[in-house]
């Protein structure tokens, strides 16, 4: 089976914004996404860690969605603009998949 080039968008975001981001992705042309746990991190705004937090405030999650490369930049841009206040970082990279139609 040949493979097809797609774009992977990775969005590191505050856990308290999980529901909103899911809703946003549903309105965009995204066929699927997966959410991964995150332990801790460090950036301009200092350290944070999942350990010892009492609720979602101060935790982060990683959303990954694989989409058609032609649409990727626009979608990433929209996500970036909408969730700026809750954003960790957002990156794009290239991957290959088997099932062209699925993404």
């Amino acid at each position: 089976m040949p493979t097809h080039k797609k774009t992977k968008i990775e969005i590191l975001i505050e856990a308290s914004f999980e529901k909103k981001l899911s809703e946003l992705l549903d309105t965009l042309d995204v066929k699927g996404y997966t959410v991964y746990p995150v332990v801790s991190g460090k950036g301009e705004h200092g350290n944070w860690s999942r350990r010892g937090v009492i609720n979602v405030v101060g935790q982060m999650l990683l959303f990954i969605t694989i989409i058609d490369s032609a649409k990727a930049h626009d979608i990433a841009q929209k996500i970036h603009d909408t969730i700026e206040d809750h954003l960790g970082i957002i990156t794009l990279s290239e991957v290959e998949v088997f099932r062209d139609k699925k993404f």
């Binding site: 350990r51 010892g52 937090v53 009492i54 609720n55 405030v57 206040d85």
Partner: protein, 335 residues
């Protein structure tokens, strides 16, 4: 006077407060001691369920009292009122931005259930009678403060429009989170357990007493150990966002709220137990439900400020000094 010294001594040497102190200490010396997050969450579910359930059982046994009805009304009024008072004090005395002032003060209108539970333990120890059903007041006080704060921010930003240009996104999304506050797991659990206690009554109580009552205080100790770790870590990270005037607010605001409650409660002629617990609820500041809601409703407000204030300043203050103080005041005015 002797009384308050005795109360304070009792309080400070109780395993509950000592566990909190141990947690804070461990955080300060950078120990890697930590309670797994899932277990901490389970303990908070346990505590919420246990006090909600016991409250319901008490009403099943005693019936709904007039005292409770009055307390419920007073609780809602306080939760709506305190954010306004807090906001104007913060704007007048500190350099916090309006949005941060509103966010912080809404925490003080809402409540901390752990502070409430810790207080009931001291009430018991000092032989003051109270009804567990007061926990229903705690439940109704969680949310109004959030609505109040959003409302006052809207009002304030309109008023200030000519002077200050608030970023548009400051005041968006006010609608969504209200629902979410009422669907918040801890409120559902508290109210649900209350109803379960009410329906299953004394018979139900006897059945699950072995879990709900006997180990209760021990679980509270471990929970406070975790709270101490948290408060300590928040303090270290968050203190740089606060100046002295803001920190002081975290100490005198609870006292103010307690005094306000005392005055209003005297008009309503509450019993001493209810009075003391209401003062404590008013004095306590939320660090679970409100931060979660505000992070969405007011994303531009700085969570480091409001979390540090309620968790690392006001909570330790109430736990160690505040509770015995409010209790003594309640006893004084009631006798």
């Amino acid at each position: 006077m002797e009384n308050i010294i005795f109360l304070a001594y009792q309080n400070l040497t109780s395993p509950i407060v000592l566990c909190f102190a141990l947690g804070m200490l461990a955080a300060f010396i950078q120990s890697d001691l930590s309670i797994p997050q899932s277990v901490a969450k389970a303990m908070s579910i346990y505590l919420l369920f246990a006090i909600g359930f016991k409250g319901g059982v008490e009403i099943a046994i005693q019936g709904l009292t007039f005292d409770l009805a009055k307390s419920l009304v007073l609780g809602i009024i306080l939760s709506l009122l305190i954010p306004w008072i807090g906001f104007f004090i913060l704007k007048a005395t500190t350099n916090l931005k309006s949005i941060d002032a509103a966010a912080v003060s809404s925490h003080y209108g809402s409540i901390s259930i752990v502070t409430f539970v810790a207080a009931t333990q001291i009430l018991k120890a000092s032989g003051i009678e109270y009804s567990g059903s007061i926990v229903a007041v705690a439940a109704v006080m969680e949310a109004p403060a959030i609505i109040s704060a959003l409302f006052l921010l809207n009002w304030h930003s309109k008023k200030e429009k000519e002077h200050e240009t608030l970023n548009k996104s400051t005041i968006v999304e006010h609608q969504t989170p209200i629902n979410e506050v009422f669907l918040n797991g801890s409120i559902i659990l508290l109210l649900g357990a209350f109803l379960i206690g009410l329906i299953s009554g004394e018979k139900g109580f006897v059945e699950i007493k072995g879990l709900i009552v006997d180990p209760f205080k021990g679980v509270l100790c471990f929970f406070l150990l975790d709270m101490g770790l948290l408060a300590g870590r928040h303090f270290k990270e968050g203190i740089k966002f606060l100046n002295l005037k803001v920190v002081l607010f975290g100490i005198y605001m609870p006292i103010l709220s307690a005094l306000l409650t005392m005055v209003l409660a005297l008009i309503l002629e509450l019993e001493v137990g209810s009075l003391a617990l209401l003062m404590i609820l008013a004095a306590s500041a939320s660090y679970i439900a409100v931060p979660a809601a505000l992070r969405i409703a007011l994303p531009k407000a700085n969570p480091a400020i409001y979390l540090t204030m309620s968790l690392a300043v006001t909570f330790p203050f109430n736990l160690t000094v505040g509770i015995p103080l409010y209790l003594m005041l309640a006893q004084m005015v009631s006798s």
